[in-house]
């Protein structure tokens, strides 16, 4: 099989003949031309992989030919070796400055030319391979990108539809995943008797794995809620689910709550998650008293034996609940400080009436605090207003 096509350009026919002979014997296909114009005419018929050209020729000298080949996008990639009697560094640099890829000084040994041609073809092959791989990689990347976008859209579909409404309460969310797709999830579920079940969770890590587990967390929560019981039962059930189905380093922090509008009580479990805020009368807007719904508990998915504990708080008509994930408060500013719970609590204590407006203010103010540092982790904020 022919190794490749070489165009030999020289006005001296003995030189063309010698090079042709050696190159053909080595398995190359060879075209010849006596000057630049002839070479261009040859190139109009077939495209060589490599041109070996003399410098001094009538009609069109080698430097002009080189310039034309290298300035035309269609032929720019053809390797160009200048064959020149002008030995010495000066002419070598001159030739390379024309855009030639290499030079061979005259007089030459045919073996030397052949060795150079062989090495050039190795380079050409490598470049072709790199181009091919590059194309493959780009195609692959595009596919991954498209799949990620699809997954992100699906994940958005796992979140409650807005505007959110359950008996006696309205809620909204702001969901800002760090990498298009993230490990945060929340759910608000209508329970029998006008009660509301709530869950917010943050799965360790980022990206696709975290997103898959977040979907699992949501399903697990919904299954637990369907079984009845309260946050403590849900936490224990979800912990077992997660221990069974996740790998060693994967777990979720979560907050689970159940609001009973008849007793005005909110029962909840903190499973290693940021404690939410109760803003007393917060749905009316303005500066209001706030409480942190604290509690201690292990993350879900650590160990099936670990105990959880349930807490209780009053939650009256007109009260507001703010749930969030740590990405909202754990952005390290340039001065190394972070908003943290205390900072967010200050922001949440004075918000407008209306969950939508309030969510916008919270995001705007946390952004303003962190600026110019962007959010680096998944961020989820849920504002739930109990109607009066």
């Amino acid at each position: 099989m022919a190794k490749g096509l070489v165009l030999v350009v020289d006005d001296e026919s003995p030189i063309r003949d010698i090079l042709s002979f050696y190159l053909k014997r080595a398995g190359y296909q060879v075209l010849t031309a006596a000057n630049g114009l002839e070479a261009l005419a040859e190139m109009g018929r077939s495209r060589p992989d490599l041109i070996i050209s003399d410098l001094r020729m009538p009609e069109m000298p080698g430097d002009e030919l080189c310039k034309r080949v290298k300035s035309d996008p269609a032929t720019r990639d053809i390797y160009f070796i200048i064959l020149s009697a002008l030995d010495g560094t000066a002419s070598r640099i001159g030739g390379l400055a024309l855009g030639a890829d290499d030079m061979i000084p005259k007089p030459f040994h045919a073996q030397e030319v052949l060795a150079k041609v062989d090495s050039t073809f190795r380079l050409i092959e490598m470049q072709k391979e790199i181009k091919r791989q590059n194309k493959e990689l780009t195609t692959f990347q595009q596919r991954v990108q498209e799949e990620m976008e699809l997954a992100a859209a699906l994940q958005m579909g796992l979140l409650p539809k807005l505007p959110g409404e359950v008996t006696g309460a309205r809620y909204t969310h702001r969901y800002l995943p760090a990498a298009g797709i993230g490990g945060d999830i929340y759910a608000v579920v209508q329970l029998p008797g006008g009660c509301t079940g709530m869950m917010i969770a943050d799965v360790s890590g980022h990206g696709v794995t975290a997103a898959l587990i977040s979907a699992m967390v949501k399903t697990s929560f919904e299954n637990q809620v369907r079984l009845g019981g309260g946050p403590l039962d849900w936490a224990e059930g979800m912990n077992e689910d997660l221990c069974r189905s996740t790998l060693a380093e994967q777990f979720a922090t979560a907050w689970l709550g159940r609001l009973d509008p008849l007793t005005n009580r909110l029962r909840y479990v903190v499973a290693g998650h940021c404690a939410p805020f109760r803003i007393v009368g917060g749905s009316r807007g303005g500066l209001q008293r706030s409480e942190v719904l604290r509690g201690k508990g292990f993350m879900l998915g650590l160990d099936p034996q670990l105990p959880f504990s349930e807490h209780e708080s009053e939650f009256l008509p007109g009260d507001r609940l703010v749930l969030y994930t740590d990405g909202l408060v754990e952005v390290e500013r340039e001065d190394r400080s972070m908003l943290e719970e205390a900072g967010l609590r200050r922001i949440c204590a004075e918000l407008p009436a209306g969950a939508e407006e309030s969510a916008d203010v919270v995001i705007a103010q946390t952004r303003a605090f962190n600026s110019p540092v962007p959010f680096v982790d998944d961020v989820t904020l849920v504002v739930l207003d109990r109607m009066e």
Partner: protein, 112 residues
Amino acid sequence: MLNIQTRQEGTASVVSIQGKVNFEVTAQLRDVIRETVATVQPKLLTINLEGVSFIDSSGLGLLVAARNSVDKSGGKLHLCCLPATVKKTFDQTNLTNYFSIFATEQDALRGS
């Protein structure tokens, strides 16, 4: 970039970590811990967190996994020298009660 140093103290291995332990560097730390547990099979693995300025959920996950893998091979994992910020994260996630935590490295090496 995380700076991790390991050394042997009798039958105990000590891993000292400096820097921010987050998603980007957990792979690096995971390799060191895995290799230490696999090659030395220490009776006691002490992780010194003195130089850690921040730890996120992936970092916590890694430590939990480390505890479980050391448990399985019949050893113990002790943590020591938690800076205030790290301590806070441990408190919030209740991991303070999941790990054996010591104030100093000597205590961690002595403690059982």
